[in-house]
Amino acid sequence: MAFLEWLEYSAFADWVGTSAWGYPILLTSHSIGLAIIVGMLFVLNMRLLGFFSDIPIVSLSSLLKLAWSGFLINLISGISLFISQATFFATHIAFLIKITAIILALVNAAFIQSLVRQQGQYWDSAGAIPGRAKVLALASLALWVTAIIAGRLIAYID
């Protein structure tokens, strides 16, 4: 708790909270990162579920790279936003659900990434995607939707 308060009283947190542009810049960056990461993973997950079958599975690796860059934007903007109100976020149920969903979604994405790397070419030549990849894809979709919903609810519930 003391650490969280220390963060909140830092000069950076002060700038985020009191400057005219701190919040708008960080929130806008966070939306851009969100569009990239969830957008890319949505296309990837739909492909794994069997849609858009003209897109080669092996090409999904480049979508994953883009998704990680989106995540980097949100990690940086997210930490900055967190610092400015650390004690508020750390005890907020919607924020905690959001972070849990994101951590699970990242682990899930890492699994998908290694599967695609190791077996993507075989799935392409076989023209079929194994059941476990589809389960991961569904889980990924559910987790990111949860993260979006929880993120939006932060401002609306205590």
Partner: protein, 162 residues
Amino acid sequence: MLQVLVDWAVATPLNEWVLSWNWTWVILEILHFTGLTLLLGGLLVIDLRYMGFLTQIPARATHTLLIIVVIGFGINLTSGILFFFGDPGRYAINIGFQVKFALIILAGLNVLWFYLKVDRKMHTWLDPNTPPALAKVIASTSLVLWFSVLICGRMIPYVGTG
């Protein structure tokens, strides 16, 4: 003229419906964010491919993603209209909203330009996987416009009405 629009919109049953339940607004926000990920996610793949990136994906294959873009746009057009009718006075005079609206129109014209000048000529490309220069211009314009739409939208609460 703007005041006429606002006065009319605020008196509609739609306005009443949007404001009638506490949770409508946050649900609309969730839908609007979801819609934008579909719109931008689909467009990123299509436009980056037409700009010459993501070369592992055949150019024509990205076409099938347009359905995601259209669905995302549809969700956001609907939720956007409901936002507007829920609080027309706030949005009508907001510079962020006005610029956003203008950019969306430009993005639509860009789509038309793409359809007329690139899409209908895809069969004439020397190499089916090398988009012509015009396709690169239109695709990069598309991404710039749509990310600008996102930025303007996000700034609406902050470029206030004074």
